[in-house]
Amino acid sequence: MIESESITITPIYAPKNLKRLGEILGYEMTRHFILQFMEAAPTQLATLRQLFDTGNADRLRSKAHQFKGECLQLGAIRLGSLCEQVENLATQGKYEVIPEKLAKIETELVLFEAALKSGGQL
């Protein structure tokens, strides 16, 4: 799978983004935003799963799009990429692959948190 390969070669996050945010907002405020993101992330994922379960494709696409934006803005490249895949699949009506992608998002969230901690961001 090209997508799996692409994830494997893509870094979990781009430290440059967070560094610049830190320069602008200060490290405390940046940390505050990271924590906010991390606290809200499980809820975001749960919402995606609920929308999938209820078959609300349009809302699923929209929510995936929104989560993607937040991930990418924080520099979570791989999470953003997975959200974009869910967004596209929902648009295309390819529902069968979506649960797998949602599972990967859950895994990637754990990896992202770990990466942030090891990078001193959390």
Partner: protein, 696 residues
């Protein structure tokens, strides 16, 4: 310090929304947020932010639709909307711009790019607003100024007209925009009245300011015209390239009208509208200066109204002014009718004096015109009704003196003075006539002075003058104890000169008071030496001239003369001409009242030669009226004159005034007068004048 720019951040993702808000606040902006397009619209309507940063893909109402709806609002014309999106396809970018977006920025948002882009956009917005304000100020200024302003592009095609320019031309900016200035507006040269083009061509070609005067702008509807002074100045861009022309139209209609009026007033007489004396003299001066050819003839006419003073004194200045206006019109029409190819300048020189300058005109042609002017004025009947509805009818005349302007004449005033002298000669010759100044006029002047010398010397001599008398008969009882005293002068060769020959000279040189005093003294002295005759005499009449009544010493001299000699004063009757009474009513009344107290009687002479004013007669305590001889002469042949004499006679009798008829020269006239029942008659048919020494 200006307040920070107010930015609305619109995003459905709360985390991003808060992040962007926090960062933008750090950048110094005042930030508010909304979570979808609909809320963004609501916020915009209430708060009018300076800029909207809006996510494109949102639930409820997406950013592009919201942008489109906001931009439809008139107040949103200048608000920048920056779209934030991850979508970068060409089609999407096109629709964002089509919806009115100012710019877009992609997600994830690079905060440095965002800051710079927003700074630039807000700076551009402020510049645009400042430009708009400047434009508004310029438009308000242009709308407020009194001049018309038109701008064109570099080809001369109209861009803009301010309200005054619209008012002057009849074109609005919308109607004229894009059309060439010369196609749209119509102007003519004030002097030539020929169409001309606006001066912008020179301005466009030479790139320099041009000014123009003496132009008339014609309104689009052709109903109005404006006198304008216009100037055109080039408009250049920063690099100095010509990008258009600004044309300023200064409406000088009123100023030019006032200038024309002032110029007109300076040259014209306010009452009659004819040229005034100043302009007449200026024209005369021009003629003199340009007269180099001996064969060119110009003639100047000096005209003076006869009997004008009567109208002024009896009916007031309002009537006099109206008469002058009528006379001016008659003169003008007559001159126009008889001057077909020559140039004629007609002017009122002052009072009742008029001047006419005929260029390239022979003496004979000028005389013909002068005679026509006399006839025109003679034919004119001036009717006047005063505020009390009293009606008067006047017949006037004009005396005209002519002088040919020769190449040797250089002084305008002298030429007018010569014409004045000629006019005086015309008056002396019996008024209503024409007199052409001759080269030998100066000889006549010398002759006049010789007459003056003779009159003066005769006044000193015992035999210088002789008293004559002409009997007057009473038709009631045929008695002849009445007569009028007349005067004859002895010339140096012992010949008797009739009064017509010397009275005009005596009048002109102010000798009439002396002559009247001489007559009165001589008559009184004669009565004293002929007491028996005086006993038989019923009445003698003595003429008093107008000039004597103007002499302040005359009345006292007469009173002293009467007091010196014991004479029944009721036998003395002084004859005063009707025109004299009308000209100097107060003086005449004073004279009559004073002498009436002494017992003297009075006759109004030449009644009906002027206006036969019975209303004045009512106020003058005269005993007799002597009906004018010219009227008496025609009562046989003219029924109207007969009726007039009869009316005068009847009215006089009703007023307890006795009537006398002069110039009775045949039996038929006498018979008619008897028929009318006139009281007294006098004339050659009755008795010729005789020396008083022959009196029986």
């Amino acid at each position: 310090m200006s307040s920070p720019a107010h930015i609305l951040v619109v995003d459905d993702a709360p985390w991003i929304r808060n992040l962007l808000a926090k960062i933008l606040r750090r950048y110094g902006y005042a930030v508010e947020t909304a979570e979808n397009g609909q809320l963004a619209i609501d916020y915009f309507i209430k708060h009018h932010p300076d800029l909207i940063l809006m996510d494109a893909d949102m639930p409820v109402l997406d950013g592009i639709t919201a942008c489109q709806q906001i931009k439809k609002r008139p107040e949103a014309e200048n608000i920048p909307i920056v779209m934030v999106t991850a979508i970068v396809e060409t089609q999407w970018i096109d629709s964002a711009y089509a919806a009115g977006a100012t710019d877009y920025i992609t997600k994830p948002v690079n905060m440095d790019v965002l800051r710079n882009r927003l700074d630039y956009i807000l700076q551009a917005k402020r510049a645009k607003e400042a430009l708009f304000e400047e434009k508004e100020k310029a438009l308000v200024t242009l709308a407020s100024i009194c001049d018309g302003v038109i701008t064109t592009d570099a080809k001369g095609n109209v861009d803009f007209l301010n309200p005054v320019a619209t008012q002057l031309t009849g074109w609005t900016t919308q109607e004229a925009r894009g059309l060439h200035l010369n196609q749209v507006f119509s102007i003519i040269n004030e002097k030539t009245q020929q169409p001309i083009e606006f001066i912008i061509q020179h301005c466009l070609e030479e790139c320099e300011e041009v000014k123009e005067n003496g132009t008339i702008l014609i309104h689009r509807q052709r109903k109005k015209q404006f006198a304008i002074e216009n100037s055109a100045a080039p408009i250049r861009d920063r690099k100095g390239h010509l990008i258009g022309v600004v044309l300023v139209l200064h409406d000088v209609t009123e100023t030019r009208k006032m200038t024309k009026e002032l110029s007109y007033k300076a040259k014209h007489d306010a009452l009659t509208g004819l040229y005034n004396r100043l302009e007449f003299q200026a024209q005369l001066k021009n003629i003199i200066q340009s007269q180099h050819d001996e064969n060119t003839h110009h003639v100047l006419l000096f005209m003076d109204l006869d009997r004008f003073k009567i109208v002024n004194d009896t009916c007031g200045h309002e009537a006099g002014d109206q008469l002058l206006k009528n006379v001016a019109l008659i003169l003008q029409k007559t001159v126009e009718a008889h001057i077909t190819f020559r140039k004629a300048t007609l002017a009122r020189l002052g009072g009742d004096e008029f001047g006419l300058l005929l260029e390239n005109c022979t003496d004979q042609a000028a005389l013909d015109i002068a005679n026509n002017l006399c006839k025109s004025i003679e034919r004119f009947n001036f009717f006047w009704e005063n505020d009390e509805k009293e009606k008067s009818l006047f017949r006037i005349a004009i005396s005209i003196g002519l002088v040919q302007i020769s190449a040797q004449m250089s002084n305008p005033k002298s030429i007018v003075a010569l014409a004045d002298t000629a006019c005086y000669a015309a008056k002396n010759a019996g008024r209503n006539g024409v007199h052409l100044y001759q080269e030998n006029e100066e000889i006549l002047q010398v002759q006049n002075l010789q007459w003056v010398s003779l009159i003066n010397s005769n006044l000193e001599k015992d035999q210088g003058f002789f008293l004559f008398y002409q009997p007057i008969i009473s038709l009631r009882d045929n008695t002849k104890n009445y007569y009028e005293i007349l005067l004859r002068m002895n010339d140096q060769e012992e010949r008797l000169v009739p009064p017509g020959a010397f009275l005009s000279i005596a009048s002109r040189y102010n000798l009439m008071p002396s002559l009247d005093i001489w007559v009165i003294r001589k008559v009184l002295k004669w009565f004293r030496s002929h007491p028996k005759h005086l006993d038989k005499l019923t009445l003698t009449t003595i003429n008093i001239s107008a000039y004597s009544l103007n002499d302040p010493n005359f009345l006292d001299t007469v009173i002293n003369g009467i007091n010196e000699i014991e004479i029944p004063t009721h036998k003395l009757c002084f004859e005063i001409a009707e025109t004299t009474a009308l000209n100097n009513f107060t003086g005449v009344l004073d004279f009559i009242i004073t002498l009436k107290k002494l017992g003297c009687r009075f006759a109004l002479d030449n009644f009906c030669s002027g206006i036969a004013s019975f209303s004045h007669l009512r106020n003058l305590p005269v005993d007799f009226i002597k009906i004018d001889g010219s009227l008496i002469k025609s009562i046989v042949s003219n029924k109207i004159d007969y009726a007039m004499v009869k009316s005068i006679n009847d009215i006089a009798h009703l007023m307890q005034i006795q009537t006398m008829a002069a110039n009775v020269e045949n039996q038929a006239t006498l018979d008619k007068l008897k028929e009318i029942a006139v009281d007294y008659v006098q004339g050659y048919w009755i008795a010729e004048p005789m020396k008083i020494d022959y009196i029986k």
